[in-house]
């Protein structure tokens, strides 16, 4: 058993900053509800990155405060937001034309599980008492040119969220391009998972053991 108490895991902010490294200047990006939305706090000012919100904003700005709050200008999580100069608004069908038509460069979603083939499960656990709700996740997972997943590497009970086959209901098949966790950055390739980088104090062998699925290593 590997003792993770001795290593410094990436915080949510660390994961967000790591993802930002892989978002190029000029990218059109959709950030999923929850942790992925925090990435907007770390976008560098020397790159023009346009945020898309599924409810019809391209060029979304930071959360609105004070007098800037307009209850009819909200993000996908229904929080009041602002728009950047140059922003545009559109109706829902056009917004999903951007998503489903492959016009969004990168989407970042959270996940319960990602399989070695890039299948993603992120919308329900199958709990019969939970109200099922899918929102735009299935459209985003397949429609964006690249799908990044931002998640904890392990469940609260210590099981890997990287799996051979997803056991939770699927969101999309073979959709994920890269997984960013509190332990590592892992690319999904046709040859299988490739560990791109991982935290100090953890060996590749330990990462692989914790992950519980076959994995190759890129040079660190």
């Amino acid at each position: 058993m590997i003792d993770l108490s001795k290593v410094q895991k990436r915080s949510t902010a660390d994961i967000a900053k790591r993802i930002v490294q892989d978002i190029p200047d000029g990218a059109h990006v959709n950030l999923g509800i929850g942790q992925p939305m925090t990435i907007s706090n770390y976008l560098p000012s020397d790159r023009e990155i346009l945020l898309h919100s599924e409810n019809g904003i391209l060029g979304m700005g930071p959360l609105a405060t004070g007098d800037d709050i307009d209850e009819e200008l909200v993000n996908a999580g229904k929080q009041p937001v602002t728009m950047l100069p140059g922003a545009s608004l559109c109706h829902h069908a056009d917004s999903f034309v951007m998503i489903r038509g492959g016009h969004i460069d990168i989407c970042v979603l959270g996940a319960f599980q990602v399989s070695v083939k890039g299948d993603i499960a992120n919308w329900r656990t199958g709990d019969p008492k939970a109200i099922p709700a899918v929102g735009g996740a299935m459209d985003l997972a397949l429609g964006a040119k690249k799908l990044f997943v931002m998640m904890e590497h392990l469940t609260k009970s210590g099981e890997s969220k990287l799996v051979k086959e997803c056991t939770y209901p699927l969101t999309a098949l073979a959709a994920v391009d890269c997984i960013y966790t509190d332990l590592a950055t892992i690319a999904v390739t046709p040859e299988g998972l490739v560990a791109v980088d991982w935290i100090d104090g953890l060996s590749f062998e330990e990462l692989q053991e914790l992950s519980g699925v076959p994995m190759m290593r890129a040079s660190k």
């Binding site: 608004l89 109200i131 929102g135 459209d139």
Partner: protein, 223 residues
């Protein structure tokens, strides 16, 4: 003379019959035609099928209709909301039907309905439980599922400005489903923040041309 402006919300929704299928605009509270929904709650039509992104919350809007037992079925992408209690309770008791639709598929099914298209193939949902029972097809090596169009008896939408021909503009993300829902119903009813004279809306900025709208009703209150 064309006069689509209706003097009161009660009159605007008076003829909605039991068993009607109704499109309701809104994404959370943004763009939700709350006054029309209140009038529908007052009017009392039952066995309704409501098609909307969410299933309402906090006992207002769609949540109010559900709480009053007026809704037989919800077609939506994201029924789970903070304080979506009315829907949650009936759903768990098996007293309300739910057709869960991915948000982009919902938008496109409505758009197709308004455009006279019977259905379409989309990759969204392929291989998931939401594809069960749907036709599939491989096109250029990609797996697709077949989704049918949505049409409705009524659309209740919220717009910003409207004129007596039914031309509409919207406010910010309050636009969301309004423009496509307006096209997909036999009778579209728009609550607007402001009535304007013909010609006041720049034709370049009209979002919903009046042909799609049957009734316009002014409601005070802020946008």
């Amino acid at each position: 003379m064309i006069q689509k402006i209706i003097p009161s919300v009660a009159e605007a929704v008076r003829d909605i019959a039991n068993g009607s299928t109704i499109l309701v605009s809104g994404f959370g509270g943004a763009g939700l035609p709350i006054y029309l929904l209140d009038a529908l709650a007052e009017q009392g039509a039952k066995d309704l099928t409501i098609i909307s992104n969410n299933a309402g919350n906090s006992g207002i809007g769609i949540s109010k209709l559900i709480g009053l037992g007026q809704v037989k079925k919800m077609v939506c992408s994201f029924p789970r909301q903070p304080e979506s209690g009315a829907f949650d309770d009936l759903y768990r008791d098996g007293k309300i039907e739910l057709e869960l639709v991915p948000q982009g598929t919902l938008a496109e099914r409505i758009r197709a309905g308004g455009a006279g298209i019977g259905g379409f193939y989309t990759p969204t949902g392929f291989g998931t439980e939401l594809a069960q029972g749907k036709d599939t097809r491989v096109i250029d090596g990609v797996n697709y599922i077949f989704e049918t169009a949505i049409k409705a008896d009524y659309a209740l939408i919220k717009a910003d400005k409207g004129d007596r021909w039914g031309n509409l503009t919207y406010h910010r993300t309050g636009r969301n489903f309004g423009p496509i829902m307006a096209t997909a119903a036999r009778c579209t009813i728009a609550q607007v923040n402001q009535l304007v004279e013909l010609g006041d809306l720049d034709p370049e900025t009209v979002v919903t041309p009046g042909i799609f709208v049957k009734r316009v009703v002014l409601l005070g209150g802020k946008s």
